[in-house]
C-alpha cells in the first residue's frame, strides 16, 4: 500500500500546486464572481479583449464556395465578408460593396466595391475576386452542395449541371472595383442571398498560387472583421482583429478563441468552470437552465415537421393526412417534451419574414394547422369511408435515431392513440439510411427538418414542387407548382407575397407534411459578453461583440 499512498500524496501535492497557481492569477473560479475573474483575465492578457467560443468541431472547409454547414460558416462569416452583411436588424447592409444599383427590370445588379476594401495581406478586394469565387461555386468540378444558391444567376444552373459554359455565367468585373451580375429573374431578396458565405470573394492571386490557401492559418487571407491567427486542426482556432478591415474601428474584440469540443455537456461544464464565455444548454438540463438570467433565446428560421408519403396507403387520402396532422398538439410537444422554448408551429413558414408592407408573413397568413381532436376524428372517419377501409392500414412512423426525435415520436404515438384511436408503430434508423429511404419514398411517415438558407419564404415553399429533391412525399399539385414558378418570376412584390400566402394555404389544405415546431437558438452568455448577433437566417456575427464589465 505504500506505493499507492505515495501516488496519492503526489497527486494531492500536484493539485495543491495547481490550486495555488490559479489563486495567484486571481481567478476565483467560483460561480457568481465571473465578471471579477474576467477582469483579471483580461488584464493578464495586456488589456486584450478575448472572447472564448466553442465551435464543436473542425470546420469542414473554410473555402467559401465549399463549406455549407454551420461549423464552417459560423467561423467564416467572421473572417470574411461578402458584398453585403446582415446588420443587427437582420437586414442586408453595405459591406464589401458600399453601394449598388439595380436595373429597371430588377435583374441586373451593379455593385460598387469599397476603395478601402482590402485582404488581410494588403491586396485590394477586387471585382475579379468575386467573379473567381462565384464561378468556383458553380463549377461542377467543385462539387459544392451550396451551388444551388448560385442558380439565381443567369447561366448558373446550366453551367453547374454541365449544360452550359463558364463564359455564359452572367458575372462580370466591369472594372477593378465594379462587379456586375445578371439574374434569371428579379429576385428582391438577392441582397440577402449575397450575404451568405457561399458568395464571399476569394483572393484570386492567392488562390491561383496556392489552391489550398484556406486549409492553414499561414496561407489564409481574410477580408472580414477578423483574421485567422492560428489554427491547430481539430483543436483550436485563434482569430485576431483584422486591421486591414474597412470597418475595423467598429470591431471591439482583440481575439477570439475557438475550442472544438463536440459534447454539449462538456461545453456547459467548461462554461461553468470559466473556460468558455458562451454555451449551449445540454438537452437534459433545459428544464433547470432555460429560465436563467443570461439565457438568450433567439429565433432560427426553420421548421421541425413530418412528411406523409402520399404514394403509400393510407396517406394517399387527404382527409386521413389531415386527421393525423390535427391530432397532434404542438403546444404540448414544445412545453413538455422539447422544453427548449421553441414556438409551436401552426403553419409552415417560420415567423420573421417581413412582407413589403412591413408585417410578418406569419401574422398575415395566420394559423393554418390547429390542434383539433374532434375534427381529426371526424376527418379520419370520412377519409376511411372514402377509401372503403374498415380498418386503417398499419402506419409506421420513422425517425432517425436520436433521443430528442424519439421523445417527440413517442409523444406523437401517444397522441394518435388518444385522439384518433390509431396505434402507430415506431421505427428508427441511422441518419444516412434514413435519408436514403426518405428520398426514395420508402418511408410511410417520417421526421424532417428544414433550416432556411436565405431570407425569403420561397426557400422553403419551393421544396414541395413536383419532383424537387426536397419534396420527398410523392406529393404533386399543379396549382402549387404554378404558384411557385409564377412567384419566382413576379416583379411586383405585393403580388409575389400573395402567391406565397396562397401556396402555403395549399400546403395546409393538402397536408403532404405537417408542422411541429419552429426552431430557435438558445445560448447562455457570461455577464460581460455583449452584442453577439445571431440572425434567424444567416450565421453568427462577432463584428459588434464586446466584453464589458
Amino acid at each position: 500500500m505504500k506505493k499507492k499512498s505515495l501516488w496519492l500524496i503526489m497527486f494531492t501535492a500536484f493539485m495543491l500546486v495547481l490550486a495555488a497557481c490559479t489563486t495567484s492569477t486571481g481567478n476565483e473560479g467560483s460561480e457568481g464572481e465571473n465578471s471579477d475573474s474576467e477582469a483579471e483575465a483580461t488584464e493578464e492578457n495586456g488589456g486584450e479583449k478575448v472572447l472564448r467560443m466553442n465551435n464543436g468541431e473542425e470546420p469542414t472547409s473554410l473555402n467559401p464556395p465549399v463549406g455549407f454547414d454551420s461549423v464552417s460558416w459560423n467561423v467564416l462569416n467572421n473572417l470574411m465578408e461578402g458584398l453585403t452583411r446582415l446588420g443587427k436588424d437582420d437586414m442586408p447592409q453595405p459591406a464589401m460593396a458600399e453601394d449598388w444599383e439595380v436595373s429597371d427590370d430588377g435583374k441586373t445588379y451593379t455593385f460598387k466595391l469599397r476603395e478601402d476594401a482590402n485582404w488581410s495581406n494588403g491586396d485590394p478586394v477586387t471585382a475579379e475576386d468575386f467573379v473567381y469565387a462565384w464561378k468556383q461555386l458553380l463549377n461542377p468540378e467543385t462539387g459544392s452542395s451550396a451551388a444551388f444558391l448560385g442558380y439565381f444567376i443567369e447561366g448558373g444552373e446550366a453551367y453547374n449541371s454541365g449544360n452550359g459554359s463558364v463564359d455564359d455565367v452572367a458575372v462580370q468585373a466591369v472594372d477593378e472595383k465594379t462587379f456586375e451580375v445578371t439574374l434569371t429573374s428579379p429576385t428582391n431578396y438577392f441582397l440577402h442571398v449575397v450575404s451568405n458565405p457561399a458568395f464571399f470573394p476569394v483572393n484570386k492571386e492567392v488562390a491561383e498560387e496556392n489552391p489550398e490557401w484556406y486549409a492553414e492559418a499561414d496561407s489564409f487571407v481574410a477580408n472580414g472583421p477578423f483574421k485567422l491567427e492560428s489554427w491547430t486542426h481539430d483543436k483550436e482556432m485563434v482569430f485576431a482583429k483584422n486591421e486591414e478591415y474597412w470597418d475595423s474601428d467598429t470591431v471591439s474584440l482583440d481575439k477570439v478563441h475557438w475550442a472544438m469540443v463536440n459534447d454539449v455537456n462538456t461545453e456547459y461544464q467548461m462554461f461553468e468552470s470559466d473556460e468558455l464565455d458562451v454555451t449551449e444548454i445540454p438537452s437534459d438540463m433545459a428544464d433547470q437552465l432555460i429560465d436563467g438570467d443570461n439565457v438568450v433565446i433567439e429565433e432560427q428560421a426553420g421548421l421541425y415537421f413530418y412528411r406523409f408519403n402520399v404514394t403509400q396507403e393510407p396517406f394517399q387520402n387527404k382527409k386521413i393526412r389531415k386527421a393525423f396532422a390535427l391530432a397532434i398538439n404542438q403546444e404540448d410537444i414544445v412545453n413538455y417534451v422539447t422544453k427548449n422554448k421553441e414556438k409551436a408551429a401552426k403553419a409552415f413558414v417560420s415567423p420573421g419574414f417581413t412582407t413589403p408592407s412591413g408585417e410578418d408573413f406569419r401574422d398575415v397568413n395566420g394559423d393554418l394547422v390547429n390542434f383539433d381532436p374532434e375534427r381529426a376524428k371526424q376527418l379520419l372517419e370520412e377519409g376511411m369511408e372514402e377509401e372503403g377501409y374498415d380498418e386503417l392500414p398499419p402506419v409506421t412512423l420513422t425517425y432517425n435515431t436520436d433521443e430528442q426525435h424519439k421523445a417527440i415520436a413517442e409523444t406523437m404515438q401517444n397522441m394518435f392513440s388518444e385522439n384518433l384511436g390509431v396505434d402507430v408503430e415506431l421505427a428508427n434508423t441511422e441518419w444516412n439510411v434514413f435519408l436514403e429511404d426518405q428520398k426514395s419514398l420508402n418511408l410511410q411517415f417520417s421526421r424532417s427538418s428544414f433550416i432556411f438558407d436565405y431570407g425569403d419564404p420561397i426557400n422553403f415553399l419551393e421544396s414541395f414542387v413536383t419532383d424537387s429533391s426536397m419534396n420527398r412525399t410523392g406529393w404533386s399539385n399543379e396549382a402549387y407548382d404554378n404558384l411557385i414558378s409564377q412567384a419566382k418570376q413576379e416583379t411586383d412584390e405585393e403580388k409575389r407575397w400573395e402567391m406565397m400566402y396562397e401556396a402555403e394555404k395549399i400546403l395546409a389544405e393538402e397536408m403532404p407534411i405537417f408542422p411541429i415546431h419552429y426552431y430557435n437558438q438558445v445560448y447562455i452568455y457570461k455577464d460581460d459578453v455583449k452584442d453577439i448577433v445571431r440572425h434567424p437566417v444567416g450565421y453568427l456575427e462577432l463584428k459588434w461583440a464586446d466584453i464589458q464589465q
Binding site: P140, E272, S273, E275, K439
Partner: protein, 310 residues
C-alpha cells in the same frame, strides 16, 4: 526465431487481407453513401464527385484500388473533409491518442498490479476487501460517467483542473483517470487471483523455507509467474486504448483518432473507414505478436518456434 517471426508476419498479412476484404464487403453493402446529402446536388455534380472518389467504378475495381491504397499506405482524401487526406487525419490524431494511451496503460498496469498484490497478500483482510471494492467499482462504473463526474468535481466545483481540451500535461489528468480505472480494476482482480494461486505453489514454500526475504519471494518468484495473464490482457487493451477511444475523447475534447472510427461510418466516408480499420487491425495484430514474444521472455517453458507451427 527468425523463421518464426517470418512465419508470423505471413500469417499477419493474411489476417489483415481477410479483415480488409470483410470491411470492404460490409462497407459497400451498408445502405447510404458519403455523397448522400439533405439537399441533392444535380446529376452532373453527383457524377463528378463519384468519379473523383472512384465510386462510379465497378466493385472489383474499387476493391483493387483499396488494396492498392493499403499496400502503398496512402488512403487518399477524406470525402467529408476534402482538404484532408486520411493519412493527415491519422497522422494528426494517432500521436495524441497514443500519448494518452501510453500514460493510461502505465497507470493502469502499475496501480492494478500493486492493488492486486496487496489484495492477495492480505487475503480476506481489510485491504483485500478495500482493493476489491475499488476494483468492482472500477469495472462497473462506465468511463463516460466517471469522466463527467470528474469534470464536475475537479473543474466545476473545485476549479483546480481544466474541464476539457488538450493543451498541457494538466489536461491529461482527468482523461487518464477516466480511461485507466476500468483496465486497472481488471488487472487488479487478475493479479490477485493468479497471485493467490501462485502463492500456494511448492516452489514458493521452498523459497520461503530457504529463508529468502518475503519481498524477494514476491517480486522474484511469485510475481513473475502471476504476470502471465496480465501480459495477455495488456496486449489487447493496448491496441484498443492506444488508437483512441471515441467517448472519452469526445467528452474531453481531445483531438485524437477515436472519433474517426465512429464518424467515418456514420458519414460513410469510405477512405477513412478503410484507413482506420486497417490501422487498428494492423496495430492489434502487432500487439498480439508482441504479447507472444513477451511470453517467451517471461516463461522459458513456452518455446516460440514450436507454437509457430500451429
Amino acid at each position: 526465431m527468425l523463421g518464426y517471426i517470418l512465419k508470423r508476419f505471413a500469417i499477419m498479412a493474411v489476417t489483415l487481407w481477410i479483415i480488409v476484404t470483410l470491411t470492404f464487403v460490409l462497407m459497400v453493402t451498408l445502405p447510404g453513401s458519403p455523397l448522400n446529402e439533405e439537399r441533392t446536388t444535380n446529376e452532373t455534380v453527383q457524377a463528378n464527385l463519384e468519379a473523383h472518389y472512384n465510386l462510379d467504378e465497378p466493385y472489383y475495381i474499387q476493391y483493387l484500388l483499396y488494396i492498392k491504397s493499403i499496400v502503398t499506405f496512402d488512403f487518399g482524401p477524406s470525402i467529408k473533409q476534402p482538404t484532408e487526406s486520411v493519412n493527415d487525419l491519422l497522422g494528426r490524431g494517432f500521436p495524441i491518442s497514443f500519448e494518452l494511451g501510453i500514460v493510461t496503460i502505465v497507470v493502469a498496469v502499475i496501480s492494478g498490479i500493486i492493488l492486486g498484490i496487496f489484495a492477495a497478500l492480505k487475503h480476506n483482510g481489510i485491504i483485500d476487501y478495500l482493493a476489491m471494492t475499488i476494483a468492482v467499482l472500477g469495472i462497473s462504473i462506465p468511463n463516460f460517467v466517471l469522466a463527467t463526474m470528474l469534470i464536475q468535481v475537479f473543474a466545476v466545483y473545485w476549479g483546480i483542473l481544466p474541464a476539457a481540451t488538450w493543451s498541457s500535461p494538466v489536461h491529461m489528468i482527468m482523461p487518464t483517470i477516466a480511461l485507466a480505472t476500468g483496465p486497472m480494476a481488471i488487472i487488479a482482480r487478475l493479479t490477485r487471483s493468479t497471485m493467490l494461486e501462485v502463492l500456494t505453489q511448492d516452489y514458493i514454500k521452498m523459497a520461503r523455507a530457504k529463508g529468502l526475504k518475503p519481498w524477494k519471494v514476491i517480486i522474484k518468484h511469485a510475481l513473475k509467474n502471476a504476470l502471465m495473464p496480465v501480459v495477455t490482457i495488456t496486449g489487447t487493451l493496448l491496441a484498443g486504448i492506444l488508437t483512441g477511444t471515441f467517448v472519452i475523447e469526445q467528452i474531453f475534447g481531445i483531438p485524437g483518432m477515436g472519433k474517426y472510427f465512429v464518424e467515418s461510418i456514420n458519414q460513410r466516408d469510405y477512405p477513412v473507414i478503410m484507413g482506420t480499420t486497417v490501422f487498428y487491425s494492423a496495430f492489434l495484430i502487432l500487439m498480439l505478436f508482441l504479447v507472444d514474444v513477451a511470453y517467451g521472455l517471461l516463461d522459458p517453458r513456452i518455446k516460440l518456434h514450436n507454437k509457430g507451427g500451429e
